[in-house]
């Protein structure tokens, strides 16, 4: 499924329009090329299971074929598609009764009762490590693993906001969360991830 020069530069919304109006298979293939990996990754991030992620991927594209004409162009196509994916992923979790215990990170803070930072942050400062060490295959695996260790409500916001790069407003709409609630989850999740990475890079430097 290669991107053709005709479809490569067209907006998502225009591709949808082309597919609906003329059943243009190239347009649909281009949508697959653009979103196949994104859908799979979001599904995997929610279900943490490759088999479920592939099932969600197939379900989402079948839903897309059947219901693409219900897409309203006043919303962004990508947001709509992510929402369909998230819903399908949660359905999978529900059907397999794989809901995790809701572990809260709300009390996860890096400071003591006096409001002072703890954990010798300056001594462990790893931010100036060479790119080669920070971006090594092992380091990327550690980051991936740290994200997967987050409880699901935190994991999904980190995935959409910090990995996929959606805006606060887009994530808020697609997860049905207020922006302050989203930021609050994101905040605790990031504190957790920063600590995990600090531990990893500090251990490596000893």
């Amino acid at each position: 499924m290669a991107t053709t020069p005709e479809t490569g530069s067209i907006s998502d919304e225009k591709l949808v329009e082309l597919f609906i109006s003329s059943n243009d298979e190239n347009a649909f293939e281009e949508i697959i090329n653009r979103y196949c990996d994104k859908i799979y990754k979001l599904a995997f991030r929610i279900t943490r299971d490759h088999h479920s992620a592939e099932e969600v991927l197939q379900e989402v594209f079948i839903t897309l074929l059947k219901k693409i004409d219900t897409f309203r162009s006043e919303s962004k196509f990508s947001t709509w598609l992510y929402r369909v994916t998230a819903n399908a992923s949660y359905m999978h979790l529900r059907s397999e009764k794989k809901y995790e215990n809701d572990v809260s990170l709300e009390d996860y803070v890096p400071y003591d009762e006096n409001g002072t930072l703890v954990g010798r942050i300056k001594a462990k400062d790893w931010s100036d490590r060479p790119e080669k060490a920070l971006l090594s295959k092992e380091a990327m695996e550690i980051i991936e693993k740290a994200v997967d260790e987050l409880p699901e409500p935190y994991r999904v916001v980190v995935h959409l906001r910090d990995i996929e790069g959606l805006s606060n407003e887009e994530v808020s709409v697609l997860l049905g969360l207020s922006v302050p609630a989203l930021k609050s989850r994101l905040h605790r999740a990031r504190l957790f991830l920063r600590d995990k990475l600090s531990d990893y890079f500090y251990e490596r430097s000893k």
Binding site: M1, F28, C36, S127, L186, R194
Partner: protein, 79 residues
Amino acid sequence: MVMCKDVVENIIGYIEAELDDKTLDELEKHLHECPECQAFVRTYKKMLELTGKLRERTFVTPDIRQRLKELLKSKLKPN
């Protein structure tokens, strides 16, 4: 008085440049004097940069892509 805790709890507003001038001034004053908070902000930003790199990773294998393509082909052309 601004403490490390305030830097931590306002970090999203700080990096997204959403703080009001007074809060920003106070935070920056504390940051200037607190090496622990400076390191916190640096490692926080670096963590965001590295997490963003996960976006470049591909999960869908050629096999998964092929199975999807065949499934959709059968749905597109039911006859």
